[in-house]
Symmetry: C3
Subunit: 155 residues, 3 copies
């Protein structure tokens, strides 16, 4: 029987992809006690980077939000693995880190990162209300437009 | 009766502002056991961003230090909330993350970030001696000159 | 008698330098329970920054990898201090954060950061398999080419 969070994902029309393999020599998550550290996720979708380039130069705020949303879907896939398949074990999303590839004149990183934060709250409710640090960066691995990392507490 | 840290703040002439509201869909801090994760704080003061722009291009090292100091005052406000109003419960500031909006030729991020670190040690003494990661970034949300996040252990 | 990890370091031909002093007002690591937070390490070697400048502009991928490797050697020095001199107490490297000074057109940050990750896995084996977030940055303190921070669990 599907869990509460899986049911919410279905309601939101989100099918989690298989957890993405890291693009280098590291693992997608580690666990220490109840804490899960999720590696920075880029907007991989169907095997390719869905959004490349920079905000303020070819990537719109709306595209950046969608890019962050995909990053967070990939966070969810990793988190499901970390939780032994049961996302209902997520007690609290403690922190999201948002990295937004930006030209120096682009200042709407907070709005862009909401693409991840809004989905997090939609999926987990109060347990998804997270602390957050969002910054602009000049460029990301693989020319990804955005990257999102997470720190999560399991029950 | 005011606590030890509140007395120290008064001695330093620092009046903590009300904890700033996040500028997007997240919360200013989360708590997991004894750990407090404080969201990245920009130099909000009296409702506006006190320092905008970049180091090496219109923002001086001294202004950057003052900007970091204000960021850390905002960290303190959040931390006081997280600690149920009692900053004496801070056992150790484990880590500060410093993000300094910089032109590519500016390399004094460490000195700038001392604006936050010096205040942290002044306020908390040994409990304020923190690990730290400081980096340059091209631009921050709302064109803030600096941003500071924190990881803190409560007693 | 040397521990298992010290023996592995000797086998790899790595002599850990004395733990580097912070370049500003903070400490090189903090400990909370079993968690160790290691401050961002730049590629200090023999008292100077071994690699300065940016990837994509004078610093090659190979040099960047060597720079990350030196950063991680410095992480190891700090970690040994944190572990009371005994690196065998490292239960798991939970997370590495990699910051790669990059021109906006350079996108191989993941390969560069492998200079740290590969050494981490070579030294610690399965305990060294870490979560990771790697980003490009415009510039780092002291014009360092790379910076690496760590979160580690002790036994």
């Amino acid at each position: 029987m599907a869990g509460k969070i899986e049911a919410k994902l279905a309601e939101l029309g989100i099918a989690l992809p298989p957890a993405a393999k890291p693009i280098a020599n590291y693992v997608p998550f580690t666990v220490s006690g109840k804490l899960v550290v999720v590696s920075g996720q880029i907007p991989l979708k169907d095997g390719k980077v869905a959004f490349t380039g920079k905000l303020g130069e070819g990537v719109s705020v709306e595209q950046g939000q969608e890019s962050c949303r995909i990053c967070f879907v990939n966070v969810l896939s990793q988190l499901r693995e970390a939780a032994g398949g049961d996302l209902d074990r997520v007690k609290r999303v403690l922190r999201l880190g948002g990295f937004i590839a930006s030209v120096p004149g682009f200042t709407q990183q907070a709005q862009v990162m909401n693409g991840a934060s809004d989905l997090c709250v939609a999926v987990f409710g109060d347990a998804g209300r997270h602390a957050r640090t969002t910054i602009g960066v000049p460029v990301l691995p693989g020319d990804a437009a955005t990257e999102v990392e997470a720190l999560v507490e399991l029950a």
